[in-house]
Symmetry: C2
Subunit: 364 residues, 2 copies
């Protein structure tokens, strides 16, 4: 079995062109991971996700532990087999969803108690339990269980959560069952405080992980503060491991983060926006529900090879989305996922050609 | 341009194996038309509809006149181009939806006044207006505008509606703009009264149409009465024209109607059931939400080539549908449409082989 590894192929400024090897194949970086929360990239068939160029998708421990349950997925052969996705899968640890979605919760040093948003059942999620679930899912990339605090946060609160996350990172590492081709990523916390981010990064490196994520960003701090935080965080991260900025973002956020040395991204924006009628096109976004598109015979984008652009007009998409037709959500989502994957291809090509600084975020 | 025509290739008892030629190609009969109410077969991409073997779909005049409007569709090149479907399309005339969906309505000899179920706008739909709309849509098969009364109905009420429908059939024929490859179908009414069905059929034949539909069935009368009505209605219909039983039905209904000389069918059952988690399989239906499927690794059906069966297990479909995931609606719909088209292929093959009477409705 292929070992889990990261190869840095070339750089252009701080931007990095690399490759992650996993049990289910390689991922070219910088990479965007479509979000498949409940074992499906919403409104897309797997074949279309693959056609977009996506080489890895993200699943959610929180959602999958509640429904259908990790034991059932394990019984059915793991998440890859359950959803028939044979490429790499990264699962987040549940920390973020416990804070953002679950009901009444209590965080102690032991873990997070919460109630399911589906049926109210009470759960206690600990680092050890999160590792066990992700092991049962069979994730190629497991994320440590961390505490995600709301933004803004005082430095004192941010330090407490960061230190607890570090302790949980150690427990996650101890509980993680190592297998060839499967990796465990640490998550740097510390809100927007440089000293905390440094302490978190160095603490994680001391424990030792296969990759390092930057968490707690894209939670309302704005792009400037996010970029500043990346500017003082990524220099602490090892050059020979992949770096993953969690939950980011819009195309301009991704380009800016790649310029600051980030390799991997995930975000619900392309899928959620698609279901709401927003399409990403060069130079910005368009809301297909706007009346101006009702007789627009152009495709969403010229030269895009997704079904929406290849087969249909903006006028037709306008009609479908206005009529709440499922096909509208399907086609808009597919376009956005293609758009994001095309963006990542352009980024990778630009880094290889040493012209990444020519990519203007305003044009995407 | 190919003339609109019907060729009866062979028969087996009363069952007929034929071919309809239209401006957009041929339809092998007996045929099932997936319903594409609002210019989309709900939750399916056109390529998948085609892969199922469907050679014609149905659009709804009522829905399309309200949104996006017939003039807009005409401006955009007609319904085929609007939705990028290059095979035949049949549109119903709006008569049935005016009765079943629209708001406050008044029926006079002139036509039907109703309020849009979308925004309350008032409309007057007449035979002439229905023909104009269907012409603008560019339907390969236009249906006459008829009055559909609720079931049950007294013979007196049934006669009044049938006579009004006959008068509207004449006006529809007069208003229909004849073009090569495009046909107009009459609709036999008369509820379950033999004398009325006969009078309606003979009246329509006297006017002369390219095909004859049987309307006003599958509205609550039950399969026995529906079959009895077909038994005394189809003998009045010309052998050299296609016969279309509107809004039917379940597989056993279709097999029974083919045995009584019907050539064409449409029904929302496969698509609507699919969105509700019901799958058609040999021998009956299964509700994929039932707990028994939660760890069932089998496909919905062995040897089915739809994406749901080819790529996924019942357990995965159970999870998707229970989680209200759009992919659940997509896969279940695709399966049902494939199931119906496979059924029609089996029917056609059985008629050709003169063994149609061996098809047991209970097995489908």
């Amino acid at each position: 079995m292929q070992k889990f590894s990261f190869t840095l192929k070339t750089t252009d400024g701080n931007a990095r062109r690399g490759e992650v090897q996993t049990a289910h194949g390689a991922i070219q970086t910088p990479a965007f991971m479509p979000v498949g929360t409940c074992a499906t990239v919403k409104a897309m068939k797997n074949d279309d996700v693959k056609k977009s160029g996506a080489e890895i998708i993200l699943g959610n421990t929180y959602h999958l532990m509640l429904r259908p349950g990790a034991d059932l997925i394990a019984e059915l052969g793991g998440l890859h087999q359950f959803m028939n996705w044979d490429k790499p899968i990264l699962t987040d640890s549940g920390g973020f969803q416990v804070m953002s979605l679950a009901g009444i919760r209590k965080i102690t040093d032991n873990g997070a108690e919460f109630s399911s948003h589906i049926d109210g059942t009470k759960y206690l999620l600990t680092p050890e339990y999160s590792m066990e679930i992700q092991h049962k899912l069979g994730s190629d990339i497991t994320m440590i269980f961390d505490e995600c605090i709301a933004y803004p946060a005082s430095e004192e609160d941010a330090r407490k959560a960061m230190l607890r996350s570090l302790a949980w990172a150690k427990r996650s590492k101890d509980a993680f069952i190592k297998r060839d081709g499967y990796g465990l990523f640490g998550i740097v916390q510390g809100v927007v405080y440089e000293n905390l981010r440094k302490e978190s990064a160095l603490g994680l490196i001391d424990i030792g992980f296969d990759g390092y994520a930057i968490g707690g960003l894209a939670v309302g701090e704005g792009q400037d503060l996010m970029f500043q935080t990346l500017d003082f965080t990524t220099p602490f991260l090892p050059k020979d491991k992949p770096r993953y900025l969690m939950g980011v973002g819009k195309p301009a956020d991704i380009i800016g983060a790649v310029a600051r040395g980030v390799d991997m991204f995930d975000c619900v924006i392309p899928t959620r926006s698609g279901r709401n009628g927003q399409a990403f096109v060069k130079g910005g976004t368009i809301n297909i529900k706007n009346a101006q598109y009702k007789n627009d015979v152009k495709p969403l984008e010229e030269n895009c090879s997704c079904t929406a652009c290849k087969d249909h007009s903006r006028a037709y998409l306008h009609h479908l989305v206005k009529s709440n037709e499922i096909l509208g959500a399907m086609l808009m989502t597919e376009h956005n996922i293609f758009y994001y994957q095309n963006l990542m291809k352009e980024i990778r090509t630009a880094i290889e050609a040493k012209r990444f600084d020519k990519m203007n975020p305003d044009e995407y």
